[in-house]
């Protein structure tokens, strides 16, 4: 069981980490600042997925549709509709959430793998629209050079902007994780029949979770567009969704922070191993096998068991973290 006062310890650790991350752009070369920004965006995406997969137990196999919808909505609002960036920034995640609501509503009637397959299909239809509706989305040429305000143009400024929203979203997600809603969601993952028997509307809860998760995926998509100033149909493709799912599993999907770790490892591996060899997918595969065998709870789960700090594994009946 937890020691009393370790909560303060955790908070101090987090504060220290935040300070370090804030100071990094002034010491690191630009490229590492950029990669960290990319990791934050990917981590946010992975954690939003984990809300429904890890905590909700749903087979969300095509989460990246919502990521892509957010990114495209943002890009289109700025380039085609001429809306100001700040307005588009706020509005775009709602487009994702709307897509999440519509697709989620259709999928939530199904269970397990069927849920996943229907989602892949519906999501792929959206991908096909983005891919083929050339006059609107420029198909697989993509939309490039999206104008950004000078305030967040430089590598460091973009980093701070992304970091700020990453932390904000994380806070909100953590509060949801710990709230009665979050608890109920995890209970539904572990035993949906019992929850239904106690009077919880399982489907409504799951749909709400999906809408919230897809909203955050949309935020991640917008942040990606801010960072790279470009959107393209790959963002909506099922291959990316599978990769993000792998990040959650890699990091530890029963924990809160696990997916972020998984995202960090994957991006870092791809970038830094890619410098030396074109076989970086082979390296990733071998690493995954290693992790499966020696760290079955994922990286975060492993750390969690050893250190017992962030994101404790949920055990039925526990008082909470």
């Amino acid at each position: 069981m937890r020691k009393k006062g370790s909560n303060t310890g955790t908070l101090l650790l987090l504060a220290a980490l935040a300070i370090v991350l804030l100071l990094l752009p002034s010491v690191l070369p630009r490229f590492y600042t950029y990669i960290l920004s990319l990791i934050f965006v990917t981590a946010l995406l992975a954690m939003s997925l984990n809300m429904v997969v890890g905590h909700g137990g749903l087979f969300q196999f095509h989460h990246c549709v919502f990521y892509g919808v957010g990114a495209y909505a943002f890009a289109l609002m700025i380039t085609k509709a001429g809306l100001p960036m700040w307005l588009s920034f706020i509005a775009a995640p709602f487009a994702s959430a709307l897509a999440g609501l519509m697709i989620g509503w259709l999928c939530v009637r199904l269970t397990k793998l069927y849920f996943g397959m229907l989602q892949i299909s519906l999501g792929s239809l959206i991908w096909a629209i983005a891919f083929r509706w050339y006059s609107l989305t420029h198909g697989d040429d993509g939309i490039h050079g999206i104008p950004m305000p000078d305030l967040i143009s430089s590598t460091s400024a973009a980093y701070y902007f992304i970091f700020l929203f990453f932390v904000l979203c994380l806070l909100v997600m953590y509060l949801i994780f710990k709230s009665p809603f979050g608890m109920a969601l995890q209970a539904m993952r572990d035993n949906p029949d019992r929850c239904a028997a106690v009077g919880i509307n399982v489907r409504r809860h799951q749909l709400t979770a999906i809408v919230i998760a897809t909203f955050f995926a949309g935020v991640a998509g917008v942040l990606f567009a801010v960072l790279e100033r470009t959107v393209f149909p790959d963002l909506l493709f099922w291959v990316l969704s599978l990769e993000v799912l792998i990040m959650c599993l890699l990091g530890g999907w029963f924990t809160f922070a696990g997916p972020a770790i998984g995202a960090g490892i994957t991006v870092a591996l791809r970038t830094f191993v890619g410098i030396y060899t074109e076989y970086w997918t082979l390296v990733l595969g071998v690493l995954l096998i290693f992790l499966i065998f020696f760290l079955p709870e994922g990286v975060m789960g492993f750390i969690d068991q050893r250190v017992g700090s962030l994101g404790r594994k949920k055990v039925p009946g526990s008082q909470g973290v």
Binding site: M117, L122, L125, A128, F131, L249, L288, I289, I292
Partner: protein, 297 residues
């Protein structure tokens, strides 16, 4: 809407046969995936890579043994090669994971697909390769005026053959029945003294064999390249799951739906062919949320 009114019965007939042969191609490739899903309860993400190894192995065999003999030999040997790859992966790594969460098994198959994909590049290189079917399959045959390439007709016959063979195996042989039982209740099977791990090994290896057979059979019709593991894989997954988890006849029905909708969709709406498989799934799952046929577990 183009010239559908110009189409005569012969053209429609051709399209029907072609759609059926496409369905059989899909089924042959999916059968292994469906079987593994049925027994091990895991969607094998590496199935595409195993199929790819089947095609590449068939290529190498035809390079070593020229002429039609090489082709038939490849059809027999390539599945065994893939089965060996599967066996080694299973005994060395996979079997230790059977007690774990299903998502972990999925993660393993994903990692395996990454490794196999790069291994194929290392062993065979990046150039495009091709196999020709033996000369006996050159040209088309005409059935009541509708023509279909001879090799596609061959696949149209092989498909049901594979289905029946697999069905007989799964329901009539002892080991097939044990495998089905293990899918539903592995503890019980273990309790009666059967080594469940070996049952799973057998099922996985059979799935790999079928993947290799699919690769070898399909090889003469496609270019054998890196990345061919991705081309069929999403359709294979969609078919296998909408058909009813692990249900082989469900996979057959799913394949028929996909193949025929593609063939006829291409007649009437050929500009939007990329959406056909997804539309088919949406329609099926909205109408039958639990899959077309009963799932095996």
């Amino acid at each position: 809407m183009p010239s559908i009114l110009n189409l005569d019965l012969a053209a429609l007939g051709s399209q029907l046969f072609v759609g059926l042969s496409r369905s059989m191609i899909l089924f042959i490739v999916c059968s292994g995936l469906s079987y593994v899903l049925g027994v091990l309860r895991v969607p094998n993400v590496a199935h595409g890579s195993l199929y790819m190894i089947g095609a590449f192995s068939a290529f190498s065999i035809t390079k070593l043994v020229a002429g039609p003999a090489g082709f038939w030999l490849a059809l027999v040997l390539a599945p065994f090669i893939v089965a060996v790859v599967g066996f080694v992966s299973e005994r060395a790594l996979f079997c230790h994971l059977y007690q774990r969460e299903h998502l972990m098994l999925l993660l393993f198959t994903f990692a395996l697909s990454l490794i196999l994909g790069d291994l194929v590049k290392i062993i065979w290189g990046a150039e495009y390769k091709s196999i020709m079917s033996p000369a006996v399959f050159d040209g088309s045959i005409s059935i009541m005026g509708a023509s279909i390439p001879k090799y596609n007709f061959f696949l149209l016959i092989v498909g049901p053959f594979v289905a029946i063979a697999l069905w007989l195996f799964a329901t009539k042989t002892k080991i097939g029945k044990i495998a089905r039982a293990a899918a539903v209740d592995r503890e019980m099977v273990g309790a009666v003294g059967i080594n469940v791990s070996w049952v799973f090994a057998f099922a996985f290896v059979l799935g790999c064999f079928l993947a290799g057979l699919g690769g070898a059979l399909v090889a003469p019709t496609v270019s054998i390249t890196l990345g061919m593991d991705h081309n069929l894989i999403i359709e294979a997954f969609l078919i296998v799951i909408i058909g009813g988890l692990g249900n082989m006849w469900g996979a057959m029905v799913g394949s028929l739906i996909f193949g025929l909708s593609q063939a006829f969709g291409v007649l009437f709406w050929p500009q939007f062919a990329i959406v056909f498989p997804y539309m088919a799934v949406v329609i099926v799952l909205v109408w039958r949320p639990k899959g077309l046929l009963k799932s095996v577990w």
